[in-house]
């Protein structure tokens, strides 16, 4: 994305995470890759250096975390199936911190993904008439 440079490696981590959280393909509505979710996320954080920095730290924590849990691999070195299995281990963990970390990760990507009018149409979310009128056709910025 113009103006926001996070490095290829960080982008790859974010793209892998986003794709596991909201996979593309499958049912008749888009996934992370289809809408350029990582670019959308960077657009939202790009004007705020501290938030962008936080996103980078978050990405690298996830990248390195498998080593802490004795997987002896970086996240991006795993196959997609291994990544899903690894994230599920966080979702079902007995440790609250791990479970909530996954909820946080979901929240970041899903908040951006489900903020897209294109996705709204696919899931049947049609904000009320008044809301649309007030928006005055500004939904796409």
């Amino acid at each position: 994305m113009p103006g926001v440079e996070i490095g290829k490696r960080t982008r790859r981590i974010l793209e892998d995470l986003a794709e596991r959280i909201i996979p593309s393909g499958g049912m008749d509505y888009p996934g992370a890759r289809d809408i350029g979710l990582v670019d959308r996320l960077l657009e939202l954080t790009g004007n705020f250096p501290r938030r962008l920095w936080a996103v980078k730290i978050l990405a690298w924590m996830w990248e390195l975390s498998p080593i802490l849990f004795l997987r002896f691999k970086l996240l991006t070195s795993m196959t997609p199936e291994q990544q899903v299995e690894y994230l599920e281990s966080w979702e079902k963990s007995r440790l609250m911190v791990r479970r909530w970390s996954l909820v946080g990760l979901k929240a970041i990507f899903m908040a951006v993904f489900y903020n897209e009018p294109l996705v709204w149409g696919k899931i049947g979310f049609e904000p009320g008439k008044c809301y649309e009128q007030v928006q005055g056709g500004k939904l796409n910025g």
Binding site: P23, M96, F113, N115, V134, L139
Partner: protein, 510 residues
């Protein structure tokens, strides 16, 4: 009379120096009421508000923007404890009344009586508070939600509750005919149909000469000889929210209504009003659970007022149930699973229903300023409150099943799915731990509590600090215990009562 007006931060190009009889910090349920009541009685009033002014003319363009612009820290305030509890707090002209659901409840009689009995607070008998509630309800237009905007989500839950014989009904809200049930009350109101304080109390204060400064953050309370003499702070940049210029307001009375998180932080930053040691302690938040359900029929829960119905059958057990439905970006993360399975649930967004319940908490949390200037909030759910939450989940699940839900999803970390009453019973018998609950909270209270004894309270029964003369608190910080109902109307009524006291006892002779 001085001409009142609302001054946006960017309009000001040099450092600001003001003086008034009364300076009010915060424009939410407490501050706006105090400003209006005192301005109306002829006192000069300056109000400073950290947030910006938003209305239907400049309503943010999408939900993420709403969070960024109308909430503190983009809505990412979190209580830390056995389970982290997100607690979004509004930051705008109108305070949290701008982004709440608009639900109006009077303080329950038994709560008022408990405060008199346990904390010695006189003058708050139900019949003495009644005129204040009536006055507030008239100004904010508190009326029952009409069937026109109730929404299918809430109707379904009421149907289920009625089948089971539970006490329930439509909620009272501060809304008028401009409320079209857009379903985005918690993102501000795009039609101005919800009558937040920026649409009633603030204009009334301004009409009576109050000067209202937006994007002005109070930082230092000036005290001389044990008496407040003014407040100073920063005017914030409209884009970066960083300090741009300084302001100072000299005043005789300082009314603090920055909310139950930021009022105690302001006092602590200034080393004030804390001889009792209770500033920032006694935090109550009404922790809430949410139970979602999947129906065969379309619910379209986003249509209609998200919080338009209640079930009060279980208030004796410390559980109050109220409608809650949110836009997809907030629904998806709290539905179970990720990947394809979460996507599949979201694909049925139109068929998803959701209802919440808040717990009358006995847990006491605390708040202080963290290293980066953000609030550090600690709140460890006590065992009794965990039990209340467990029961609340079971009751809500039972009601959804009675209403015809096929699958019920309580917000628990291990993502159980309940399909029958048997599943609900098994869940209850299993017992839940605090760390398994995925909760949210919206009602911080109690961090500068009032009382009759200065040893165990921060303020006297009218909200005046025991330590600093003419320093008043008029927000939810004052409440000694949780209310068990949404606090907006209570804050307003108590602020009105404090304003009467300030007028009669502090300013009448000026």
């Amino acid at each position: 009379m001085v001409e009142g007006r609302i001054i946006e931060g960017p309009e000001i190009s040099s450092e600001l120096s003001e003086s008034a009889e009364v300076c009010v910090i915060g424009s939410g349920a407490g501050g706006a009421v105090a400003a209006k009541e005192l301005a109306e009685r002829g006192h000069s009033v300056v109000l400073v508000e950290e947030g910006a002014r938003w209305d239907k003319s400049n309503y943010p363009k999408n939900p993420v923007d709403c969070f960024r612009k109308m909430y503190r820290d983009s809505g990412a305030t979190v209580c830390l404890g056995h389970t982290p509890i997100p607690m979004p707090i509004g930051k705008a002209l109108g305070g949290t009344t701008k982004v709440n659901s608009g639900t109006c409840f009077r303080t329950p009689d038994k709560v008022l009586r408990r405060w008199r009995r346990e904390f010695g607070i006189e003058g708050i008998e139900p019949e003495q508070m009644k005129p204040y509630f009536e006055r507030v309800e008239k100004i904010i237009n508190a009326t029952p939600v009409s069937s026109r905007v109730m929404g299918r989500n809430n109707e379904l839950f009421l149907e289920g509750a009625r089948k089971l014989g539970y006490s329930c009904g439509p909620l009272m809200r501060n809304a008028d005919q401009d409320c079209h049930g857009c379903g985005v009350c918690t993102l501000g109101c795009p039609s101005d149909g919800k009558r937040s304080t920026d649409l009633n109390y603030i204009p009334m204060a301004v009409a009576n000469g109050a000067r209202v400064y937006c994007r002005a953050r109070a930082e230092k309370i000036m005290v001389s000889n044990g008496e407040v003499v003014g407040v100073s702070g920063s005017l914030l940049d409209s884009n970066t929210a960083k300090p741009r210029l300084k302001f100072q307001v000299k005043c005789k009375i300082l009314v603090v209504a920055a909310g139950a998180i930021h009022t105690p932080m302001l006092f602590k930053d200034n080393g004030l009003a804390n001889s009792s040691g209770w500033v920032g302690r006694n935090l109550r938040i009404h922790p809430g659970i949410r139970v979602s359900a999947l129906f065969d029929q379309e619910v379209n829960g986003y249509l209609g007022v998200p919080q338009s119905a209640y079930v009060d059958e279980f208030t004796d057990e410390g559980v109050m149930m109220e409608g809650v439905f949110v836009v997809p970006l907030l629904s998806a993360p709290v539905l179970p699973f990720f990947g394809e399975r979460n996507k599949e649930l979201m694909f049925h967004y139109r068929n998803i229903a959701s209802f919440g319940a808040m717990i009358f908490d006995e847990t006491c949390g605390s708040v202080r300023r963290g290293a980066l200037g953000h609030p550090l909030i600690f709140y460890n759910l006590c065992k009794e409150d965990v039990q209340k939450a467990s029961r609340a989940i079971a009751y809500a699940a039972e009601i959804w099943l009675a209403a015809g839900a096929k699958r019920v999803f309580p917000a628990l970390c291990w993502m159980p799915e309940l399909n029958s009453l048997k599943d609900v019973r098994v869940l209850l018998q299993r017992g839940l731990k605090a760390s398994e609950l995925e909760m949210m909270a919206f009602h911080p209270m109690g961090t500068c509590r009032m009382g009759a004894e200065r040893l165990n309270s921060v303020c006297d029964p009218y909200g005046e600090s025991w330590d600093v003369r003419n320093l008043f608190v008029v927000d939810a910080s004052l409440f000694p215990t949780c209310l068990g109902v949404n606090p907006m109307e209570s804050i307003m009524a108590f602020a009105n009562r404090s304003a009467d006291y300030i007028h009669q006892m502090k300013l009448a002779s000026v």
